[in-house]
Symmetry: C2
Subunit: 392 residues, 2 copies
Amino acid sequence: MKINENYSKLQDSYLFSTIAKKVGEYTAANPNNQVIRLGIGDVTRPLPPSVVGAMQKAVGEMGTAETFRGYGEEQGYDFLRNAVRDYYTAKSVILDGNEIFISDGAKSDLGNILDIFSQENTVLIPNPVYPVYLDTNIMRGSKVVYIHGNRDNNFLPMPEDGVAADIIYLCSPNNPTGAVYNRDQLKKWVDYALEQNAVILFDSAYETFIRDESLPTSIYQIEGARHCAIEFCSLSKTAGFTGTRCGYTVVPQELTHGGVSLNKLWLRRQTTKFNGVPYIVQRGAEAVFTPQGMRECRENIDYYMANAAVIAGTLDQLGIWYVGGENAPYIWLQCPGGLGSWEFFDFLLENAGVVGTPGAGFGTNGEGFFRLTAFGNRENIVTAMEKIKKIL
Amino acid sequence: MKINENYSKLQDSYLFSTIAKKVGEYTAANPNNQVIRLGIGDVTRPLPPSVVGAMQKAVGEMGTAETFRGYGEEQGYDFLRNAVRDYYTAKSVILDGNEIFISDGAKSDLGNILDIFSQENTVLIPNPVYPVYLDTNIMRGSKVVYIHGNRDNNFLPMPEDGVAADIIYLCSPNNPTGAVYNRDQLKKWVDYALEQNAVILFDSAYETFIRDESLPTSIYQIEGARHCAIEFCSLSKTAGFTGTRCGYTVVPQELTHGGVSLNKLWLRRQTTKFNGVPYIVQRGAEAVFTPQGMRECRENIDYYMANAAVIAGTLDQLGIWYVGGENAPYIWLQCPGGLGSWEFFDFLLENAGVVGTPGAGFGTNGEGFFRLTAFGNRENIVTAMEKIKKIL
């Protein structure tokens, strides 16, 4: 019996456990000091009332014989797929319901989508990056090539001549940098993918944070993308579903390779290895897409983005270089004074009781950079920024 | 870009779509005839009141800032893992919380567990079988060898001399046959797995249907199993969670290969490719394991098993050979009159308006056999059995 030996090639996932350890040590040594966490990638505002009401109703239905629901279709109930389809229509993207797969979140589908591809593909991954894209491919033993984000390109890497790829990960708005590709840039990526006969795995988890109306909110607003891209969306940050788990993955019918439909492969994968998202959660998700639900989500998103503006404003005053914060809840700053990521982490924690995320935790190009997130409490963020101003 | 070519080796999953087509044709031709479905593998009784109450409370918590929960640990909240641990203790199996992984159901984990193994393993699969075990291994390109269930061994195949295996699927109580291994038989399987240095993937989804106290209700009640078995459990049939999605997978710390801990591999897989079960669902699952919750679930299980007794009693009267129905909600009968599976399906549907599942849909050894399920409504089952008695 052989285990999967690729797992031994994974780096120990030390980033958040190291952070937790350092914060634990600081708190123990300074029990009276306030610790303000600006590193969390989790929402803090509760579920919107529309969602709560829809789920309460659905829980009641599940307790009554006449309205009880057992197994649903693995790809999700029509009521939700239609709501997602209509949401796309409002963005000028026309989808068929059978191109939409309800997921328990982008993380699961971004990992599991690899099942339908051979592991003998070259995978293009950004650096810095959300670690899941890298780890899932190391687990499969696939060859990984990096595209490099840096200050020169505002952490928006573009296709490089001479670099071949079969599977391309793009995340825009980006975690961890908050950088957002514009239409021209995404068109170049789509053209590159078509020329390479590659598939773009487009992580669109933060599209609802975009305020600039010139920026694309779906890869399918780019011509040609239906032939080369799979889009992964999530209600985690849009609607506060990090602990409730719901998203949707789009696989257009035009996406074929060697005459084989990727939509058909994904349907087969999901009907074989998944049993769908809970009915209760799907009713909650449906409520997100109602006018009232969207108003309530928009309130929370505006709250987070106002937090981002507080953070960005402070960095502007301090003359610190950064990207993000305008169309994303993440801000990616260059550590002042030439400090390394972890040096700056320690400095902030020890001198201001503020916790962020060292950029080095997201890849080698993150060294010397630092992520702050806008999901926290307004008062704490204002306090944190004032403390940071004092010590810098 | 290469797709996963193994998918082209999958058989089209025609079983339930063919059944749906035939039933649709019958209903259209006979609009006034009652159709009674005894083929469904889905529960019909609603969620127990304890579960409904717990989920209502949890939904309310998610709508309030002070009690809102974001991301939970991927392996599940302690409150639920501890409840599962205590449930095992009552069965004389002592587990550590970190050996328990909360899942969104056995189907997901039975498929995804293969990630931690090399595909260069020989996989032993029963015939007849729940199709997912076979399809997930075809998708990976692993070599499959069958162990044969038949009337002679009461559809309880045992290890065969000269057959080597690395991964062994066992499901007991069994879907589709309802057959249950006793302690001695499971001990032989555990000894075989230890001798082969193989891993048993033990599907325990129906253990709560066991009434015979001499029968094992966990593989870990068998000596040596901690060193060679992973157990997959589900609340789908136990508590009616087919549309709510929750289960648990046990990976003992003793389970190592070449010095590598499978528990550690599974934890890495899940923390990388999964984001946990919804908080609301975990609170519902926690309620299942309370004394009141277990009483309510037991009522539903007793109801289904009384249905099974009605079916079994009729087959006894008709002198039809069958297994199952005593410690499982499935009955696996030999088609009377030497009819083939689909012939008997058509005969039952056309002459009695009763729908079952042709055994041939579960593998070649299912030809000439037929599955009836006990999940339906009592009155319908009684009516169906009377109609069957008339026509046979």
